[in-house]
Each structure stands twice: as C-alpha cells, then as structure tokens.
C-alpha cells in the first residue's frame, strides 16, 4: 500500500542522509522524496511516498522517523483530505505533422509548452501523479526524449474534517 508521509525537519547538514539511511537500513523502499524550505527559517519540509506491505510497517516508519533528533514532526497524511501534486517536464519528439496534434492533446491536462525546437517540444504539467502518468502514456507514441518528474509533494487541505486516521505519532 502506498503511504504519503510528511515531515518537518531542522535544516541541518546531513539530515536527508540520516533519513534516507534509516529507510535503507530497515529495508523500506522510497518511491519519491521532495524537500524544500518552509515558511519558518531553518525548517524544511519533506514529503515521502513509500510503498509498504501493511499498516504495521507504515506505523514503524513514522515511529522510526520520529526518533530522529532533527525531525520535528511526522504525519502519515495518506488517509486525510490532502492536496497531492507533482510536476513533470516531458520532452517529446515532434514532426510538422504531429505538432498540432500534441497541442490539442495536452490542452485538457492544462499543461503548457515551455520550450519549442525543430523536432521536439517540452511540456510542463502539474497535478496528481496519476494525471501525469496518463499524459506521459498519451505522449509515448510520439517518442519521449526525456522525462523529469519532481516526485510528490503534499499537505492536508485547509478545511480538514476531524479524522480519526490522522495518526500523529502514538496511538493510545
């Protein structure tokens, strides 16, 4: 099962290393990580997507992460009302014949063309990872030259229902 775990951490040298090392040591597989600054100075936010066998391992991951001294807060937000986004840049091969077709194809995805060359286009798209998968699938037949994805970033929506699955760390 896929879990989305967000963390706030002290922005110190080696913190990411410490955390990914923890995943390696315990044999948890990371699907994606995104890291960036937060509104508070010195504090970064990380979003992890992990694929785990069961609840028990998901819980173990949050507990182990929370043990790290530089980790301030860990929340498994998978079961909350959340906003999940990813950005992708897709360089796709074009010919004079297919160029127009691609323009119309990406339109419903609200994707943008951010670079044009004689034989290729770069498409920029943001959205839920499934949406990006779908667009990449559609563009595949034209010939993908390069794809860069940022990985998932996410947080709970503003009007959050009080949710019992919002496990902050320890379930009593």
């Amino acid at each position: 099962m896929k879990r989305i775990i967000t963390m706030t951490v002290n922005n110190r040298p080696g913190v990411l290393n410490r955390i990914t090392g923890l995943f390696t040591k315990r044999h948890y597989n990371i699907e994606s990580i995104t890291v960036g600054h937060t509104e508070s100075e010195g504090i970064s936010r990380m979003t992890f997507v992990v694929n785990v066998e069961d609840e028990r391992i998901a819980e173990q991951i949050t507990k182990q992460l929370n043990k790290q001294i530089d980790v301030l807060k860990v929340v498994d937000i998978t079961d909350q009302a959340i906003i999940v986004r990813e950005l992708a840049l897709i360089k796709v091969a074009v010919t004079p014949a297919t160029r127009g077709e691609i323009y119309t194809l990406i339109e419903p995805f609200r994707a943008a063309i951010v670079d044009v060359a004689r034989d290729s286009l770069v498409v920029q798209v943001t959205g839920e990872p499934e949406k990006i998968d779908a667009l990449i699938d559609l563009l595949k037949p034209y010939g993908l030259k390069e794809v860069a994805r940022t990985g998932t970033t996410a947080f709970p929506r503003g009007s959050q229902r009080a949710s019992s699955t919002n496990k902050s760390l320890f379930i009593i």
Binding site: N10, G14, R18, G21, Q60, D70, V71, I172
Partner: protein
C-alpha cells in the same frame, strides 16, 4: 567538588577558550570521572590540553578497547562512557563499539578528531567520512562547523546519550575547531523540540493493564535491560510480588530480578530455561518491561506467545509493535510505569494453578550437564565462580558458549553486575569492558570470562590492566575452538568443522606473564578450585587459563526457525 566550583567561577566569567579546552571544561562540568582514548594527529590539540587538565584518561592499546571499556564503564556506573579517537583509522576502529552500544542502548559520548575544515572532502591524510559511516549506528551525531557551537553540542550530546532510550552520540571535531577560540558558556539549557522522550506513562493504558492482570490465569513478566536502565529493579520485585506474577529475563536483563527468587523462571530464548520458554508459550498475558523482542528471545515469531495478550512497557515507542503485535502499549519509563502499577494495587490474578505448573517444569527440567571425573566441565567452572564470589561479582563476557553458560549458571542476584554484548554479539568485548567496569566500581570483584577465540581479539588490553593494576580476574574458557561455531557445525552442518577448531592456542599463561601478569592454568575440577580460590584472594590482576572439556555444547537450545516450545536438550 572544588573542580566544579572552579568551572562555575570560570563559566560565570564566560571565558574565551579554544575548542580543546572547551571539551575539557565540559567534561568537568558533566562530572566525567574517566575517559578512554587513543591519540593521533587530528586530536593532538585536545591531547595537548589534556596533559595538564587533571582529567583521568585511560590509554587503551586499540580504539576498540577504548570504546568497549567505555561501554563497560557505562553499563556498571549508569553514567555515560566517554571516548576520544583520532580521525580516519582511529574513528573506523570504534565502529564496532558504536554499533554494540547502539544495539544495547548504552550511553556514550564519543569524540572523534577530523581533518581540518579546509581540507574536508579532499581525501586528505587520515580523512574518513565518520559522520556518514556512523550515522546508522549512533543515536545522534554532530560535526562541529563553528567553534561557538561546541559547548551547545557537547551539552546536547550528553543529554541525548543519557535520556529516553540511552545510546551513543558522536561529535566529530575538525582539527582547526579544537584550536579556534570562542566564548565558553555551558550554563545554557538544552532545547531540542524534536526530542521529547515520553517518560510518564498514559494512565488509561496502565488501567487497561491492571484490568488485564486481574483477569489473567497465566500471566508472566518478560523483563529486559530497560528495567536496569530505568533503575527499576526494586519496583519490578515489588510489583511481581504484589501481583504474584512470575518473571523471566532476557540475556541483557539478568540481575534485574533476583535469580534465587521463587517467582524467577530463568532466562528466555535460544538458550533459555525450559520453564521460561514454556511459560512464554503457554502464558495468557505477557507483560514486557523494557525488552525489545529480539529474535534470540522470541524464536520463530509465528509461535511466540500464541495464547497471550501482549502488554509492552518501553521508553521507545518504536519498539512497541515492532516485532510482536501489542494489545496494551505503554510508552514511558519502566520505573514510572511499575510505580503506577504498584500504586493501582489491582485485583491479584488467581495464579495458583499456573505457579503449580511452573514449579513442576522447574523440577522436571532444570538446567543440566554431566559431571565427569578428571574433566573440567565449563558449566561446573561457572558454578564454582558463582560460589566463590557469592554471586556478587561484576561479570563481563565475550560472545559464544561461555557467555551462555555464564548467563545460565551465574545466578545474578543484583542489578548492574552483568556486562555482556547482547544485541551485536561482539567477540573481544569482555576484556576491555572489564577495564571500564573495574574503574566504575573499584571495590568490586570483577571477573572477565572470555573464550579462547574472543580473548585474542582484544588481548592487547592486558597491558592496560597490568599498568593500572586493576585486580580483574580473567577467566579463559579454553576449549581450543570457536566453541559456538563448532557447536552449530556439529548440529547443523554434519560435524564439518570448517575453520572452527584451534588446537594450537598460544600458551596463555606465558602470554600473560609477558605482560607482567600473574597467571595459572587448570585442567581438572580440583585444579580449577585451587587456582580460582587463589586468584580471588589476590588483590591484583590474574589470568586463569581453564582447559575445559572441548566437545561440550550449550543446552537446552531452540534451533533457529523453531518456536520456543520446540527446545531440544531439555532431558537426558
């Protein structure tokens, strides 16, 4: 005291000090009595300031010796062990000890030297990425990047090492940081918002456990080293007696509950007693106090405590539910939890049938071995040591058969007398650990019981023992083999003794004599009795080489992959 006052005065003045002096002042402020280390280029500025500091430094003969000695010190004193090693090879030599301390939750503060900041990352002479190497084997670690931060870092390190679930903390100090100067302020408070261990257990969970106990028919307590870390041995006894619940120990927990107590069932696990293991199999309520359900304790998890409701008291929430599904999780300090349980004074369970069954097992299936005339049985040797030290010695061991025999036959009555490498199973641990243990308790009789294999991994520390005239009794259980490996090859590999037999061991007596140490050998029970008595009457280090029956195996045994109820070697 005087030294402390001096620090206070100086601190009040907020003196400007170099990094090396800050380190020394911080150690004094932390009331550190002894440090273990080994010098080298990157830590020379620190050693230079140590020279006239009055800090008692033990120069071991290998950095592994230093860190195991610090572990021994910490395990006996309950205070953090302090280590200094130089950059590169010095630091990599402490990797085993760090892992050992991490696995067994031993508080250490370890300082490593590092090449100067300006050359970090250039593969400079004696540079190693110590932070990277040690990240997974430390509770936390730092590299000093600005000397102004050093006092805060050291203060945090001691705090982190000794609170919550204890563990090793490493501080990597680039050489220039030891020389650079800044204001030394050690009076600041530690502020770590990301580190707030829960010590007070949740009241509702305690009530749940009280309720579960009152309804149990076959309750049992599994007590681990958490009881010792929390200094909760008195409360454990009080609680067990109040509720009439029998107690089982893990290897590391031994001594937390008196071995001669009628409610004691022995050690659990691979070489545990039949009674302890069957009690774990048959119990309907299992109360784990400060143990982490290591696989050597549980055997095959599919058959572990299959009939039991599991309650788990642990300071580390991540341990609860990690290996065994837990119905009643209690996060907190073992002592606090036991005090609350005692105060609740819940309805005692009716355990008369259960105790009858347990006592029957105890009678039917005691630990056993065959005595043979003219042969020294290792089990008998341990029994004799137990007898002649009144069960009150501080005992350190290596890893292997002898370790299990000590766990089985040295009946620890008191806490903080038992020093062994449990989680990592580190050969070479016992001898240096004894140095730390003896320094922690100068008055105690310290017996270091080691295998002929493991002894040779750190035997250079004999030099330290002799130099400091530490009256440690070194007992080599010499079976001319890597005994535990030999045992597994006998049982699981059709007696194909691949690289486990060492019939030509050095003459350990002459070896000890080369270090200037008194040494004796014994090959029979009578000789053993004689040399043991003589050694124990000597107020100086003595090495004893016991040639024991080489083919002896440790039983009973739960084979890997088997459940605790599938023990072999429980009957003749």
């Amino acid at each position: 005291m005087a030294a402390n006052m001096k620090v206070k005065e100086r601190v009040a003045k907020k003196q400007t000090l170099c990094g090396a002096l800050m380190l020394i002042e911080a150690l004094k402020a932390e009331n550190v009595k002894v440090i273990f280390g080994y010098p080298g280029g990157a830590v020379l500025p620190i050693y230079d300031k140590l020279y006239e500091s009055g800090v008692f430094h033990v120069l071991t003969r290998h950095e592994q010796g230093a860190i195991h000695a610090a572990e021994g010190y910490a395990r006996i004193s309950g205070k953090p062990g302090v280590v200094i090693a130089t950059s590169g090879p010095g630091a990599t030599n402490i990797v085993t000890g760090l892992t050992d301390a991490m696995m067994d939750s031993i508080p250490l503060v370890v300082f490593t030297g590092q090449v100067a900041s300006s050359v970090i990352g250039s593969d400079a002479f004696q540079e190693a990425d110590v932070l990277g190497i040690t990240m997974p084997i430390t509770k936390h670690s730092y590299q000093v990047r600005d000397v102004h931060e050093l006092p805060k870092i050291i203060k945090e390190a001691f705090h982190i090492a000794t609170t919550g679930r204890p563990g090793p903390v490493l501080i990597d100090i680039p050489k220039d940081m030891a020389v650079a100067e800044a204001e030394f302020d050690y009076e600041q408070d530690v502020q770590l918002p990301g580190y707030q261990p829960t010590t007070k257990p949740n009241h509702l969970q305690i009530r749940k456990l009280v309720e579960a106990v009152s309804q149990a028919k076959r309750p049992v307590i599994l007590a681990g080293a958490g009881v010792l870390h929390a200094n909760a041995h008195e409360q454990l006894k009080q609680y067990a007696e109040q509720q009439h619940i029998p107690v089982i120990h893990t290897l590391l927990g031994l001594g937390g509950f008196p071995a001669d107590h009628p409610l004691f069932l022995g050690m659990a696990g691979m070489h545990g007693t039949y009674t302890a293991n069957m009690a774990l199999y048959e119990c309907d309520l299992l109360i784990n106090v400060g143990a982490r359900f290591d696989d050597r304790v549980t055997g095959n998890l599919a058959h572990f405590a299959p009939k039991a409701t599991v309650a788990h008291i642990d300071i580390d929430p991540a341990e609860i539910g990690k290996n065994v599904p837990t119905k009643i999780p209690i996060v907190g300090d073992a002592k606090e939890a036991l005090i609350q349980l005692i105060e609740q004074n819940g309805k005692r369970p009716d355990v008369s049938e259960w105790l009858k069954q347990l006592n029957e097992w105890k009678r039917e299936y005691p630990l056993m071995y065959k005595r043979e005339p003219g042969v020294l049985k290792p089990q008998r040797l341990i029994e004799m040591i137990h007898e002649y030290t009144n069960g009150e010695a501080v005992v350190t061991t290596d890893v292997g058969q002898h370790q299990m025999w000590v766990a089985q036959y040295y009946k620890f009555k008191q806490p903080h007398r038992w020093v062994t490498s449990g989680g990592l199973g580190t050969m070479g641990f016992g001898l240096p650990a004894a140095i730390g243990a003896q320094l922690a308790q100068p008055e105690a009789t310290v017996v270091s019981i080691v295998g002929d294999g493991g002894f040779q991994m750190t035997l250079q520390e004999l030099s330290v023992i002799q130099e400091l005239n530490l009256p440690i009794k070194i007992v080599i259980v010499n079976n001319q083999a890597l005994g535990m490996v030999r045992q597994w090859q006998e049982i699981f590999y059709e007696k194909r003794y691949s690289h486990s037999l060492i019939p030509n061991q050095p003459d350990f007596v002459r070896l000890a004599e080369a270090y200037g140490m008194k040494a004796m050998r014994a090959t029979t029970e009578e000789e053993a009795e004689y040399v043991l008595k003589e050694a124990l009457a000597t107020n100086a280090p003595v090495l004893l080489d016991f040639h024991v029956c080489p083919g002896e195996n440790v039983y009973p045994m739960v084979a890997p992959g088997k459940g605790l109820h599938e023990m072999v070697g429980v009957k003749w």
